[in-house]
Subunit: 277 residues, 2 copies
Amino acid sequence: MTPAENAQLALLLEVAGTPKPGNVDRERDLPDLRFEHFLAGAVGAGAGLRAAEAGAPVGEAFERAVEGMSQQEGDNTQFGSLLLLVPLVRAASEGELTPERASAVVESTTVADAADFYRAFEHVDVLVDDPPEDVPDLDVRRGADAVPAVEERGVTLYDVMAVSADEDGVAREWTGRFARTFDAAERLGKLTGPTSDRAAQVFLELLAEEPDTLVATAHDRETAERVRERARATLDGQEDPTALADELVERGVNPGTTADVVAAGLFVALERGEVSV
Amino acid sequence: MTPAENAQLALLLEVAGTPKPGNVDRERDLPDLRFEHFLAGAVGAGAGLRAAEAGAPVGEAFERAVEGMSQQEGDNTQFGSLLLLVPLVRAASEGELTPERASAVVESTTVADAADFYRAFEHVDVLVDDPPEDVPDLDVRRGADAVPAVEERGVTLYDVMAVSADEDGVAREWTGRFARTFDAAERLGKLTGPTSDRAAQVFLELLAEEPDTLVATAHDRETAERVRERARATLDGQEDPTALADELVERGVNPGTTADVVAAGLFVALERGEVSV
């Protein structure tokens, strides 16, 4: 499989994993966000992923992937996953996929990449934190309207990620050598059984280690920390994963950032031959 | 979505539908053929489907789709579905998707298309009937070895399908104006709810109407007829669909041809806007 194909497959294997407490999986739909929206999102993202594989700039390939992903009625399905996958696909197309090569790709992003990243917000509603108080004109929710400010300030896409790294686990992968992504890949490779089952297990492990930043944004830090503790209890056999999954779905608590990292980890594991399907 | 994307999505929606008695679905794996093999098959088929969309000959696009599909460890996942989807994608790329246009595409296939079809058997193990006694040299199981005989006899891909139309429900779609495919699309459009749920319902309806030809080939006509009767009983509320699904999976009775027609019907319904995701 090519890097773009492995990225599409990673998106599908991620959502197929079950139970994945709080998120859509092959046995759980949310009221307006269903399993099949993720299938369509993965299909639609293909052209953007192939653009990344062919060497298109990260921002341009990302915007195209998000535009394609959004051709379904569930709105935002895989925005965060694609923000990790696009530079990883680009890195994989250039040689062996390593943290060094992935870091080199994101560190070399430009102001034009940042502008395309802002344009990507035109295609979907993405839940994000408020921007730092000193840079209100860089609020990503402004979409393309923020592009003049991005250009005037000369911020690259890497700079944008660095600003949110404290609050956003996806941005933290960009600025932190994709540490959790590569760690997830290694864990996936060490487990046995169907790949989507391994993905569900690694999801739970990552969730038990760090509070999910999407839960912190959508609810608050305390909720995110409480979810982390319960994921830990589940791993320790003190809670039933299926019951926790049902309860979090019911309460609308969706650890989406952790799922994004698992999708990226699946991609790395497929590329490096640590898992196969 | 483009025709190639809708075809990929149709493959994914088909396998996601549950319960689909006897086949892999999102809640049932077979011992060596798992849900994730179908996800990988759909991803891998993409390049061949895009070739069909771009106007490549049907045989060439089909062989490429099958080669891509077979890049997973479950062997044959969607051979029959692709044999329906490739000409339908080609037809959809030329204008409004109608039985007339689809028939025109298959009727204009050539000897070269037939040769590529035989070559496609090199990539996967496909369960097929014995060829008619008077044409043993055209046995598809010979793969590329049969190509000289195909060329010498001057048989087109449509001719090959016409020979097996009695025994094979996929070939019958080729020679019968894709009647069940377009009927399935119409049924899908009339139902309500998530598209993959509709697919499971239409699968059961088609299975209740005609014996599945793959079951007849793998077992015998009596088994296929008995499965048809039980699907009918399930629709009539006299059998539980989940129990029937589990039993058929347990016995290794897989109505794969009916699933192929549902996948093709999903594609037609997506293209014609009869369903949306």
